[in-house]
Symmetry: C2
Subunit: 320 residues, 2 copies
């Protein structure tokens, strides 16, 4: 598995952006530790999703590639898959809820994917997807319940550890669990980072409840602004998290927004709420003492896709 990740990482590095690791002396002072932020908001498509998508899709057979691929997502996975489909010249279909924001529909179409709409329920999404697969023989690219997606996502952590030595802790957001599975597998099997912490919104804390109860929580009505962290774990990601993750810290919406505002205002980079959970979790862990003084802390900012149209509409209104 470690070898798979290292191989995937080398392959992905040829097409993905080598995203920067950023630091903030203000933040280091505030939290009395050294913090290294791997900025996947600068990744192609605006999120780490490109990594897994490229790894999974590039490994398909020629016949699968010829028939095309399908994914259901209204978010970053859709854009990652569409972008890889474009790069590899593979017919790509994205199933989106019919209430998806126009900006995301446009972005996905902008990468050349066909968008098919469905009513906004999981049942409808699956039904429409299955029907398309039956009809056209597309291969489903699942956002996280897929070894190749997980191994591809791990490449962000590989790059972080290649660039930054002797990290004590890694903090990663948890949605469906793909990014933290890959990251924690690599951190532990390579021996490069001893402690891995998951960050999860309190309003979508299925992973936390699963982790604590040691039983995968399926009932889940998420209520959070972290639109990248709404999904539940799969059996596969639940098992990886149980095995390789040391702690899950849940954070409140207000803490997430405060962290996001800090990063925009002081670091001048745009991260989405899902990314901000890791800083909120670090602050919480430092305050509670569950994260020690003077540690070297790696964090993954998972993406930077935020709708800023309203903000700019106001500026346009001002100049007219």
């Amino acid at each position: 598995m470690l070898e798979n990740i290292i191989n995937a990482s080398a392959r992905i590095a040829k097409v993905a952006n080598h995203t920067p690791v950023m630091t903030s002396s203000t933040l280091n002072e505030e939290l009395n530790c050294e913090i290294f932020m791997k900025c996947e908001n600068f990744q192609k498509g605006g999120a780490f999703k490109f990594r897994g998508a490229y790894n999974a899709i590039s490994k398909l057979t020629d016949e699968q590639k010829l028939k095309g691929i399908i994914a259901h997502s209204s978010g970053n996975h859709a854009q990652g898959v569409a972008l890889v489909g474009k790069i590899l010249d593979i017919k790509t279909v994205i199933v989106m809820p019919d209430n998806a924001p126009q900006v995301k529909i446009n972005a996905t179409r902008g990468y050349g994917a066909e968008v098919i709409f469905c009513p906004p329920t999981i049942e409808d999404r699956t039904r429409v997807c299955d029907a398309e697969i039956d009809k056209h023989g597309y291969t489903l690219i699942h956002p996280y319940d897929n070894e190749n997606i997980i191994e591809g996502a791990a490449s962000a952590c590989v790059e972080l550890t290649n660039e930054v030595d002797e990290l004590d802790v890694l903090i990663v957001p948890i949605g469906g669990g793909g990014l933290i599975s890959g990251s924690s597998i690599y951190a532990k099997l390579s021996g490069k980072i001893p402690i891995v912490i998951g960050a999860e919104p309190l309003g979508a804390d299925d992973a936390y409840r699963s982790f604590v109860s040691e039983e995968r929580v399926l009932s889940h009505v998420p209520k959070t602004i972290c639109d990248g962290l709404l999904t539940t774990l799969s059996e596969r990601t639940f098992n990886y998290i149980n095995k390789y993750v040391d702690e899950i810290i849940t954070v409140e919406e207000r803490e997430i927004v405060e962290a996001m505002k800090f990063v925009w205002e002081r670091m001048k980079i745009i991260i989405e709420p899902s990314s901000a959970t890791v800083l909120a979790a670090l602050r919480k862990g430092r305050a509670s003492g569950s994260i020690d003084d003077n540690l070297r802390v790696g964090m993954i900012f998972s993406g930077g896709n935020v709708d800023i149209n309203e903000f700019f509409d106001k500026i346009y209104a001002k100049i007219n």
Copy 2:
């Protein structure tokens, strides 16, 4: 002069952030050239101003340092000077118009400076500043009409050319003319960049009019969202621009906002309107043909201080 700049640059590098040079394949494709953006929005204090302020203030005599420094500004220069004052442990006074936004007052005070308010006219500002200097013997740190400020500002261009070879063109925003003076002096005297272009909002085009008429325009009622580019040239910066700058491209407010939105949305970094003028000018220069195909273009993003409180107030309202 070249030697002064190189020396200043080495000194500044020890305390300033080494800001990254960013690229965007989307932008390169759109404009059919290779674009390298020196991101001073990531500089200490959120703008290039720290560079000149550090160079000028660190060179003061011990007696001057003991008596303290004063600057008038409601913007990035205030924060640059205040931050240097803090680092060098020098008493720092900033004169601000009494209608300055609370966020800027707080930021300046946050760096430990004393803020003195004056009515929002140039006459009042000068009067209050002069009175303080008479009373306390402070040294005035002018935002651009000062050789040390200009030579310090040039260090952004030095770092850009150290990192990126064979640039054909450099594009820099023009406000009071400090940044473009330093950058163009270095570009030309070092022989590293053959063409330097200034970018200016049409609504604050005193430099353009001065450049074209070969007579410094003093009457000037600026109307632009670029709050960093409202001031007029001094005799000193006017002379440097005449000597070392090849062209000034003026851009409309809509073009500036479009460029800024592109950078936020696609590059995921926060730049202020003044910074966006350079991308707007490049687009205009490419469309008009005054900037050729296939050139290697360097641009300086001067800063990233934008008030995002309203945007975040809306997010807070949503989660409550």
